[in-house]
């Protein structure tokens, strides 16, 4: 057994390994220098997925501003909003809206204030928008007209939700005590259920018209 033979083998292995690294680096460089062109898809006006995520961010930040919570709550809500941005879906946005609803319960806005209107409008907006772009890569091209159906649903929810809340709060303001609160909530529930039933039964408001 000669030590020279071992040395040769080691040097050969090292040379081969280095050669392979050089080859793979060369091929990687070639891939970077000549990126693949995309397939052309002819659609209507589109925007990339990240624009819609940006919309979620704007709506979420405005909601937090409208709620005007303390520092700890801002951190918690921002973290939840970050999760929505990273992985948009109705699940993550639902969690964001639920936690925000709990905090809103603890520290409610003034009745019939702008903050109340904004929060009740923007939380469903974040929820619907994040659901629309759920499970899509960042570079996905999304037709702007895809927003038509969620926008219609959003409008209907707002047309039902905002006046009902105003009415319920007016009703609650006329009375005092726990009974009044409970009566207001019951009225609110009944009205909303009736609104749902009316919407589902009434054919003129079919969701895709």
């Amino acid at each position: 057994m000669s030590f020279g033979g071992i040395g040769d083998r080691i040097s050969t292995r090292v040379t081969n390994r280095v050669g392979r690294w050089q080859d793979s680096a060369r091929q990687a460089r070639a891939g970077i220098n000549a990126p693949k062109p995309p397939v052309r898809v002819e659609t209507g006006p589109t925007a990339p997925d990240w624009v819609y995520r940006l919309g979620c961010l704007v709506f979420g930040v405005l909601t937090i501003i409208a709620l005007a919570p303390g520092v700890v709550l801002i951190v918690i809500l921002s973290a939840l909003l970050l999760v929505v941005l990273i992985r948009p879906s109705t699940a993550t946005a639902g969690v964001f809206g639920g936690v925000l609803g709990l905090f809103w319960m603890i520290d409610p806005s003034r009745p019939n204030s702008l903050a109340q209107f904004v929060i009740l409008a923007l939380v469903p907006a974040v929820w619907l928008l994040s659901g629309t772009i759920a499970e899509l890569p960042l570079r996905t091209r999304i037709e702007l007209s895809v927003l038509r159906a969620p926008a219609l649903r959003f409008l209907v929810l707002q047309i039902v939700g905002q006046p009902v809340l105003i009415l319920a709060e007016l009703l609650q303001a006329r009375s005092t005590g726990i009974d009044a609160s409970f009566a207001g909530a019951v009225v609110l529930t009944i009205v909303v259920i009736m609104a749902i039933a009316a919407w589902l039964v009434f054919p003129r408001f079919s969701h895709d018209e």
Binding site: T90, G94, P124, E143, V146, F182, G184
Partner: protein, 446 residues
Amino acid sequence: MKGKWWPATGLAITIIIAMVVFLLGMLTGRLQAVALAMVLLLGCGWSLLRRPRQTGTISLTTRSGTTSESRVGATVVWQAAPGADALRFRTTAPGHRAVDTVVVAPRRSPGSGPEESRERAIPISIRTARTGRRPIFTVDHQERYGAGLLTASGDTAGPMSITVLPRATSLREVPLPYRLSGLTGPHDSRRAGDGNDLRDINLFTPGDRLRRIDWRVTARRNGLGPPGSGPTITDLYVRRTHATADAAVMLVLDSRDEVGPDLTTWNDSSSIAEDMATSLDNARAAALTMARRYLKAGDRVGLEDLGRMHRPVPPSGGQRQLQRLSMRIALAEPEGEPRARNRPPRMPSGALIVVFSTFLDDETWHLAQLWHGAGHRVLAVDVLPEPDLRNAPRRLVTAYRIIAMERKDRLSALARSGVEVIDWTTAGDHPVQVTLAALTRKRVRR
């Protein structure tokens, strides 16, 4: 259309959270939180109750008029399910980056019922320098509804095979075979016969047409007769012309291998970039260019595909032959390990043989020499693209240099033996048109 929609996780999570907020709001009398929860519950209920009952279908169709251009296209036809909001699809094509797209469902026409499906066509295309029949587009798709609260099962359409015809360029002059054949055609043969160009003036013989009599020559050659009797005509002279003939051309396409400019793809033709024409793409374009030029001139053209052990397309003329050749040339492709030939393919007598090959092995070189030895005029068209050595590993470059030297020797030997060698990929001072025009003026002694 019988696919299934099922609730997504987001629906369950939203309902649970909204219910918790709703109940707590009810207990504490916080109407704002209750309203927020109710709005979310209303959205969930709406999506769930008005969900689509079926899923749509996706099909891929080719777009006419795009298969011979540099851009190859197809159409994604979406038969949308009633109630579906949008379609998400990912289009993949070889050598291209996959693209994710979400498109809106088509609107219902005013007269259609609510359960009637709607159709939308979405054009897709890629830019390519490649030709032939290849699977190109694959579309993974999934319908969407209700802000992702309900999901449908996805599916895949394709891959769809598209035949991309090679593009023929125009040629002005092309060489002819040593010997023309046939009794009619666009070229003048050496035989005397019915043609246009004057061959000679000869005495009238049985079989000559009367309209060919040249009366001036006849009057000049026949002298005056006895005085007072006027001229006497004893011999008639006719103008003889060269007969016309056509050329028989056999295109020999070497489809046994397909290599691109990138050396690293020589062992795997499927990884060749789309914007680079391979040797077979060059061969197809060259063969179709030559075929079109000869057929337009009225000659007969046939095709022999060395990659297939099939009968050749016999020489024939006309537009229909051009269409037949176009399709055969486009469909020529390597089929596994090429089998060895025991004898060279038989060629029509006196035909011009044009061999389109990379000459990376001895087979076509040997065949070209055999045909040349049998008396055919043989053109060897080199279709190997200029190799790109920039990204090739050193050992691959070394291997290529050895192969290139052998190939150069082969082409030199062909040129020495009398086979005319043309480089189809040459650009600059000596493009193919110039080379072919020079060959038409070349005097060849047999």
